[in-house]
Every structure is written in C-alpha cells, then in structure tokens.
Amino acid sequence: MLIGAVSIGASFFMGEGHHEGGEHTENHEGGEAAHHGEGEHADHVEANHHEEAAHGEHAAHGDHPYHADPSMNDEFHKTASRATRENNHFYSAEEHHDAEHAHHQVQNKPWANLLVNNFFFLAVALGALFFLAIQYAAQAGWAIVVTRVMEAMSQFLVIPVLIMIVLIVLGLGHSHHLWHWMQEGIMNPASENYDEIIAGKEGFLNGPFYIARSVIYLIGWVGAALLLRKMSLKMATTADPQRHWVKMRNLSAGFLVFFAVTSSTSAWDWIMSIDTHWFSTLFGWYVFAGMFVSALTVLTMLVLFLKSIGLLPEVNHSHIQDLGKFMFAFSIFWTYLWFSQFMLIWYSNIPEEVTYYMARWGEYKGLFFTMVAMNFLFPVLILMSRDTKRNYGFLITAGIIMIIGHWLDVYIMVTPGTVGSHWSIGLVQLGTFLGYAGLFLFVVFRSLAKAKLMPEGHPMLQESKYHHI
C-alpha cells in the first residue's frame, strides 16, 4: 500500500511535469533518457532559431565588415582575438561587436540552460546530503522522522554530477563555450586567443585536473550518499544500533570535512570559472548558502506533500515549524552572504572585481533585484511568525517563491558570463526545469517507496516522534 501510494504520488508529479513541460511525452518510466533527449532537443531548436536571428541582424545592420559565416573570414579572427584579450570579454557583446563572441553566446544558450538546471538540482540533492550528515554529526534528534526524505533526495545526486562531467568533456572538446578558459589557444602565448590572466590560472584550470576534480566530487559525494543510505537501511536489522549510529556519525563527520572543501572548489570550478577573470573568496560559501536553502525548501515541500497524501503521520506541527525555521534562518544567512559579497565589491569598486556586478547591474538588473527580493523579503515576511510556519499554505507559498528565487540566483550566476545579452526565460527554461523536477521526483519517490519511511532502529527515533516545542 505504501509503495502504491508513493508510486501514485510519483506518477502524478511526473505527469504534471510532462504535461506542463509541453516538450515531453507521457513517458513515466522512461526517466532520464527521455527527459534529457527531449529537453535538449527542444533547446537546440530554440537556439538554432536564435542563432539565425542573430546572424540575420548582423547582416542587416552591416556593422561588421565580415560575412555572416565567421570561419571564412580572416579579418574576423583578428577582431575576435583582440576583443578577447580585452578584459571585459564576458560583458555585453554590444560594446565590442564581437561576432564570434555573440555567436558563442547564442550557441551557448541551450548549454547554459542545461547547466543552470543541472546545477540547481545538483545543489538540491547535495544540500540534502549535507543536512542529512549534519543530523548524524550533530547528534540531532528532532529531525529523524524526516531523514528518509533527505536520503531519498541525496540519491538523485549521481545524475546531475554525471551530466556535469559530460558537459565538461563536451566543453573541453569545444562543443560549447560555457567556460571561457576552455577556448582553444587561450593559454598559448603564440595563439591569437591568448589571454595572459587566464593563462596564469592554468595550474588550476586545465582539462585533466578539472575533470579529475569533478570525478573526485562524484566519488566522494555519491559514495557518501549511497553509504549513508545503505547504513541507514541496515539500522533496522543490526544487532547494536548504537554502535552502528556512532559509525554513521563518523562517516558523516568525514563527509562534512570533504564537503567543506569540495563545496567551495566545485563552486569555483563549475560556476566561478565561467567568468574566468573574476574572483571572489566568498563565492564558494555563497553558493553553499543558496544550495542549502534550496535543499531545505524542497525538503519541506516534499514532507508537506507526503503528509498531504496521508504518509508520515509521525511528523507533527513542531517538526514542520522547525523546518520552516530552517528555511527562514538560512534565507537570512543566504542574504547575509549575498550582501557581504555584493556590498564589499560595490564599496571598493575596483575594476577586476566590480565587472562581475556591472554585468548583472546592466541587462540583468530587473532580474537581479527580483531574485534578491524573492530570496530575502518573501521568506522573511512570510515565515517570521510562528503561526505561518505551522500553516501549510504559507509554507508552500514561501517555498515556491524561494525555489524560483534560488533557481534565478543560479541563472544569474551562470547566464551573464555564458550568453551575455542573449538571455531569455521562457518555455524552454521552464520545460527543462520541469523535466529535471520530474526526474528528481521520480528518483526521490522511487527511493522513498523502497524502504519504510521511519528509520527503524535509529536510537533517536523515539525522541523525534515525541518532538514537541
């Protein structure tokens, strides 16, 4: 019955994803392949369309001395390389009318869209794994009744990390230009594309080391997710649950150390190196804050959904309120880090840093401030009161706003450096998001259906059931 209910839940959500996505067929079990295949296909169609439009524009304007097909023209290469050497390569193509760049940016669109959604859902799964490890490491008792949901969320992790590695390999093969430093010859002094600053980063930003790091993340994170899940399932049958629990604590502590380093380095790798010239010491922690708050929000909404279909009767108002508190507190924490990074760069106003926000202040200004409002004002105002944190309607409203807000945050981190002024948010983005959401929910519900929702044998389970504030 449990499995049945969860499966119905899964198919319902999946169905909704497909339906609203528009680009997807009603393929419930098809999962991964179907989603991605179609999602990307749709993106490409859209991108091709834009590409044509962009070329058409250039031709019509006649601003450029060269033909619409850049590879035929030597003149083009010179212009392009000069423009690349000038620092502000990632900002507003309109300034230097760089056709190759515009071409890359347009070509990047579907890839950037994939990266945004992939990273967002990666963050949700990784944030859940982090929260799960915290429960063990901190000897927390209250949240044990929802640890199975965290476990299920973390099981999704393997998919986006693998896609990330595929994206990297494709990038190194020049299929797209998401990461500017992967451009051919950019670190070669003899090349026309040479960029001295980027070449200085070669020790860190080079193909083999870059891939190696991503593979290390894959092994460390996914390994921890699978192991914690496996040990948690064993808890019910093991002879000495207390010792088993101590083992899980040690594993969690080990993972947290690994995570403390890799959460930052992965953010530098995958996101910060898009704007290759730019740097910020806080960036890793900022990305972590967004990751954690997204995961908490998704966790809360999943718990509310499971409760609404009659599961998780052990989860009471106190648990729900505590989850709401976490959403509230870490929204403020995210804002704190957002403000710290933004304010310090704005205040000092030095060129090598401020360019990052100049780009976001320009064409993205509306989106930028909408995002901050959604991630700060709404959660603070909605979730301040004790009563709203115990009201499903308020929690879901806040949750939806926060999920969109943090998706936008990732979007604004990725998009300016990859597609510049060619950004848009439309059905393609929505479809990819829903496709990912469907896949995510499919994995989560399948994982939830495989085991009892209460981690039996857990030494803190009883305390969690009696949780009352």
Partner: protein
C-alpha cells in the same frame, strides 16, 4: 510530553536534588574567598593599574608613544580591539544561538560565557577610545547634531558602523545577561542571612517572586532577546571585518572576511570560555554541572570553527594566486615568507593545526590538553589579527616606505592592562554572581540529570 533518547549522556552528574543545585551554586557567593582568589586578584589588579598608567601616559602625551609609524598606522591597538571583540562572541552565541537550537548543555556555561562577553567587549571598547587621541571629544563618534557647524559623522565609514554595532551588541548582551540573572539573584536573596546582603540582592532581583506569570514573561523575553541577539552576534564581527574589507588594501579587501571573521570570533570566544570554565569548575567544585561532556562539546566547536577559519585562510591564499593580481599575490607571499613569516606560521599552527587534535576523543576529553589548546588558540587568534593588520600594511605600494613595526612599552603595557582588567572583572563576578544559571539548569534536572536518567532506564523508557 518531553522525551530524551537514552543514548544521550547526563548533563548533571550525581544524585542531585533541586536543593543540592541551589546550595552548590550559591556556595561561592556565600563563603569567604580563598587565599588563591586574593592572589590572582592581586596580580590582575596590578596589571590593570599598570595598564591605566600606560593609558594615562598615552592620553597625556599622545599616540606617538606607541610603536606606530607612517607606514604601519594601525597595529597593536586594532589587533587588541579585534581580539577582544572576537572573544566577546561566544557568550551571546552560547546563550542565543544555542538556545534557538535547543542545546541543553548550554545551561551550565551560558552565565559565565555571557559575563566573559560583556567584560571583553569593555576591553575592546577601550582601544578605539584611546586611539582617538583626544578622548574627551569622544562624543563626536555619535551622530549628534551639534552647534559647532555642520559637522557630522561619516556615515560611509565602517568605523562608525562599528560604534552602532558594538554599542547595540553590548546593550543587548547586558540585558540578556541580566534577565537571566533575575531568578538567580532572587535565590541568593532568599538564602541571605545578613540584612545588607539581603537588601542588595533584593534590589538586584527586581522583586522576583517565582510566580507562573513571572516565568512565562521570563521565557518570552528570553526568546525575543535570543532572536535579537542572534543577528547581532553575526553583525558585530561582520562590521569589524568591514573595517578592513571595504578598503582597497591587498590582504584586507576580500569578500570572505565577514563570515570568516565571525567564525574566528566564535573560535576564540569558545577557547576563552574553556580557559575560564576549566578553572571555575575546579576551584568552585562544579564538576557535576560543568562536566567533561561540556568541555568536549566546546572542544568540538573549537575544532569546527578552527577548521572553518583554516578553510578561509587557504581560500584566501588560493584566490590570491588565482586572481592573477600581482599585488594580491605579493601580499600573501609576503605574509607567509616575508619578514613576518613567524607570525603567519604561529597563526597557522595555533589556529588550524592545533584544533585538529580534537578529532581524538581521548584528547578532547582531557582537561589539561583542553586547557592548553584553549590558550594556544587565543594566542593564535591574536596573531591572526596581527598578521592581517600589520603584514598587509608594512609593505605598501611604495617600496621606499616599507617598514617594520615594533611595539613600545606602552603598547605592551596597555595590552597587559586590559588582560588584568578583564580578570579583575571576572574574579569579582565569580564571587558575587551565581556562576551557573541555576534556575534554568533546574528545568533539565529531570530529563538530563544522572539520577533521573537511571530511574527512567529502570522503569522502562517512558
């Protein structure tokens, strides 16, 4: 109903009743101070008086008496200021953040930690005051309309934000501390024999009667203050970090500073709490309340925050290289290998390596080892501020003005004086205030006391 997993260890050891707790905690206030107390108090007072002498000398002659020069315009003064403010973080963190996280173990340590917070913020506030030179004009730091023309404070300056942040933090910390003290003062009042003592504690306890309504208001106020204090804990060191980070000096201007400073502050604050409480529990025979488990918890927080700080150091170092900015790269190269290399490596050893020993249960439950590490950490955190401040300044953009800093006897004297002042205050506190929040502690006796836990186990779990 409340239920606690049997796996949790007791927070109050021994066969204690409510009355036993009262007697144990009132004892230091009701008995005469031992000779050792007078000895330590005497030493602290002497150091304090020496510090006052140096401060008066500074005010009389000017800050030219310090070791500052035209390149290094900030050194020990700001180092000490940040060091003391940092130490002043643990108290409110323990009482506010751990309250919000419902950590019961905070109840034996929050009182002393808050006292420490208040006393160390007082030390910190001294430094900007005397650094002004003309301390009698100190009221100019407040944005008051004045009759000397249109002279206003610079609202763009993080130094002014410091004034607001620290004074707010101090006020809220004192109120928070005092609210918690009220029922405990009432306890001492009720037990007092001498009329003068009774009268003093009567005034201090605001007529507390222990009625249900009193308790309800008490808990409400505590929760509201905890909510207010939590963002304040973060704001204070955030703004202190902005004193540096809003500048364009390599080594100072870096975006990670706000959260990294906060982590460092909690780190040093917990180390100081450990230093003080390991002594207090021994001298006042409070081992049953401040248990090894309490020390262990604090050691774990020290390890955690020390590692966060370590990650921040390495992030700074890495990003300096990654940035490709020559000045940024040099600032960090100079830190690690320049003339102040010894300060940098002292900082690294004390703050990043030494807390890693706390991974071993044997070491983090050893009192002697914990005590040593707590001192080492505070030495390291002093060096951290020194490294950030002095090494970033002493070699600026113009090599002809490069110089070194060496402290004068006044610099050293004032620093020692603040340590003396701090201990004078803490020692006075320890003999006149209940050092453990006994009223709060009593609320967990039945769920976390050893005797009650044993009873529960015997009778089955409910």
């Amino acid at each position: 109903m409340h239920y606690e997993a049997p796996i949790r260890k007791p927070l109050i050891i021994g066969d204690k009743s409510y009355h036993d707790i009262t007697v144990d905690i009132a004892r230091p206030v009701e008995t005469k101070a031992p000779r050792s107390w007078w000895l330590v108090f005497g030493i602290s007072l002497a150091a304090f008086l020496w510090g006052i002498g140096c401060i008066l000398y500074t005010i009389g002659v000017g800050i030219g008496t310090w070791g500052l020069n035209k390149t290094v315009g900030w050194a020990w003064d700001i180092t000490n200021f940040v060091w003391w403010v940092g130490i002043g973080h643990a108290g409110t963190l323990i009482s506010a953040v751990l309250l919000l996280f419902r950590q019961k173990w905070r109840m034996s340590i929050n009182r002393s930690a808050e006292a420490m917070t208040i006393f160390s913020v007082i030390q910190a506030a001294l430094f900007p005051g005397i650094h002004m030179g003309r301390i009698w004009l100190a009221y100019f730091v407040m944005p008051i309309p004045n009759q000397f023309g249109s002279l206003w404070v610079n609202f763009n300056s993080p130094l002014l934000w410091d004034v607001f942040a620290i004074s707010t933090y101090f006020t809220v910390s004192v109120v928070f501390w005092y609210v918690g003290l009220i029922p405990d003062f009432a306890m001492i009042r009720d037990r007092a024999i001498r009329p003068v003592t009774k009268h003093i504690y009567k005034i201090l306890s605001f007529g507390w009667g222990g009625k249900a309504k009193h308790w309800q208001r008490f808990e409400e106020v505590s929760l509201v203050l905890a909510g207010l204090a939590t963002p304040l804990v973060l704001s204070v060191h955030t703004i202190v970090s902005m004193d540096f980070a809003t500048s364009v000096i390599p080594g100072w201007h870096t975006t990670i500073f706000p959260p990294y400073f906060v982590a460092g502050a909690i780190f040093s604050g917990f180390a100081m709490v450990n230093t003080l409480l390991i002594i207090v529990r021994k001298v006042f025979r409070m081992e049953d309340y401040i248990t090894i488990q309490h020390i262990e918890m604090m050691n774990i927080i020290i390890m955690l925050t020390g590692s966060i700080v370590g990650i921040a150091y390495i992030t700074e170092l890495f990003i300096a290289w990654y940035s490709g900015v020559e000045y940024e790269q040099y600032a960090f190269l100079n830190r690690a290998t320049g003339p102040y290399w010894w300060a940098y490596w002292s900082m690294m050893t004390c703050n990043v390596f030494s807390p890693q020993f706390m991974w071993f249960k044997k070491l983090r439950t050893s009192l002697i080892f914990s005590f040593i590490i707590s001192i080492v950490v505070n030495i390291g955190m002093w060096f951290e501020r020194f490294v950030i401040i002095v090494t970033s300044l002493h070699r600026d953009y113009l090599p002809s003005s490069w110089s070194m800093f060496s402290p004068s006897f006044v610099d050293i004297g004032i620093f020692i004086g603040t340590i003396g002042f701090f201990f004078v205050l803490f020692l006075l506190y320890a003999r006149s205030f209940p050092v453990i929040a006994q009223a709060e502690l009593k609320t967990i006796l039945k769920s976390s006391g050893e005797n009650y836990k044993k009873l529960q186990e015997k009778d089955g779990h409910h």
